[in-house]
Amino acid sequence: MIVLHNVCKTYPNGVCALDNVDLQIPERDFVFLVGPSGAGKSTFIRLLIREELPTSGRVFIDGQDLARLRRSQIPHLRRKVSVIFQDFKLLPHKTVFENVAFALEVSGYSRPDVQQMVPETLDLVGLAGKGDRYPGLLSGGEQQRVAIARALVRRPSILVADEPTGNLDPDTAAQTVQLLVRVNALGTTIVFATHNSELVNTMRRRVVALEGGRIVRDQPNAGYE
């Protein structure tokens, strides 16, 4: 459960990225976060993984006030809230398997666990058998699926996607969204930031529209406009 309560975020340079945002996203929800560039989508995501703190107002995840997290607790939050990015953020000198295993290694999973969980997840995202390839040799869609596998391998309760289809062709983008729908059906909350109107219109899910840092629309089973 994600709760934003009267959240404002003003950067030191005076830019007001979010203005009095009130929002609740229950567990297992699938939400499109839409709006033009500069509407505040990225700031919203940074608040969820506590890369930023709100200037005023409060952000709760599963009842935990993120402003009150100690520095040492932030890693635990980021194991619960996984993020995928437009630019994938894969490590080029590690194989697909190693890139995904990385997310387990950082929290000290044993090798047998890693050997079991990584192939399962690669299977889930449709990359079975490609574990020993390097990211540079994969298509954009496959790279994004590696990033999704890395985000999912630790079974996060929330998956936040920041323009995950921005670098993909329409077909691959559609496949990526279908994959996230399946992940959502398995119980993971999805927050999907995008300005791809076609995708949003096809899916008919909850849409939260941001403009100039304010929520201008919050509608279930909606389209982009």
Partner: protein, 299 residues
């Protein structure tokens, strides 16, 4: 049990990552090792000089005595009491009683070649005395004051000027040596910080991703800290091998030049020096990496 497995996995990951990175950036690692070795070689040189100076000065300091000349006709019991008080005194390392006869005997030995002078001496004009060796030469004035207050003491002799000069040299050598050692540690730290910083910078993307997938600060830090420790230890090993090879011949050379100065002949000294070097290497490597990686952890 699960916590133990996780801790083990984290340690294994850190060691393997550090070793792989050390080897992958071997030219940078070699630069850090070499820089650390050069600095620690100089550090070793200073430690050797200072420790030998300390031994030499210590030996000279031991010769610093205060002599308390006793009054004539002092009862034996009072002398014994004075000796007992001196032995209980915390400033005193050793107190030796020299009777009138002993003093005469010593004079006769010293003047064995000048019997003519001795013939001029009638009776025994020499006073009995107590020769006192101090634990700490710096406290010589305090002890002299205490001795002068003794009823049986006629006069106190001390060579203040000689003592002062000796102390000045000793203290200067110690302070200057310590200052240089501190300065060299600072320079070595600076070199390691900058070398590891390059390594950290080359891996900043990896660090950013580690933060995003929920790695703790220490999980990110450990491989770099270990890598720094590897560099420091390798530099220390190189230094110790060179010093071990050079120390003995150089000491012999030195001994043949100045036979009167005592030098540090402690057989465990090279081992202690190697241990100190290794300790400094570990500390500098770890501290340097810690400083380097700190800035990149704020993701």
């Amino acid at each position: 049990m699960r916590a133990v497995i996780r801790a083990f996995e984290v340690v294994r990951y850190a060691v393997v990552t550090a070793a792989v990175n050390f080897w992958r950036h071997r030219s940078m690692s070699a630069a850090a090792v070499f820089a650390a070795a050069v600095m620690m070689l100089m550090l070793n040189g200073f430690v050797i000089v200072v420790s030998n100076l300390n031994v030499a000065m210590g030996a000279l300091e031991q010769k610093v005595n205060v002599i308390a000349y006793l009054k004539e006709e002092v009862p034996q019991a009072d002398i014994i009491k004075l000796q007992e008080r001196l032995r209980a005194n915390s400033l005193v390392a050793e107190a030796a009683f020299l009777s009138k006869d002993d003093a005469m005997e010593r004079l006769k030995q010293q003047l064995a070649d000048r019997k003519d002078l001795l013939e001029m001496v009638t009776g025994n004009p020499l006073p009995a005395s107590v020769e006192v060796r101090l634990k700490d030469a710096n406290r010589i004035s305090d002890l002299a004051g205490q001795l002068r207050a003794e009823a049986v003491v006629e006069d106190v002799a001390l060579q203040q000027d000689v003592v002062d000069n000796l102390l000045r040299i000793t203290n200067f050598a110690r302070v200057a040596g310590a200052g240089m050692v501190v300065g060299l540690i600072g320079i070595t730290l600076f070199v390691i910080v900058n070398t590891i910083r390059l390594a950290v910078y080359a891996r900043r993307q990896e660090i950013e991703i580690m933060k995003l997938v929920g790695a703790t600060d220490w999980f990110i830090r450990w491989p770099f800290v270990l890598e720094g420790i590897f560099c420091g230890l390798a530099g220390a090993a190189l230094t110790s091998v060179l010093v071990e090879a050079a120390y003995q011949p150089m000491q012999l050379q030195f001994l043949s030049l100045v036979q009167f100065l005592p030098v540090n002949l402690d057989p465990t000294f090279p081992l202690k020096l190697a241990a100190l070097t290794a300790g400094v290497g570990v500390f500098i490597g770890a501290a340097g990496s810690y400083i380097s990686v700190r800035r990149f952890l704020d993701v």
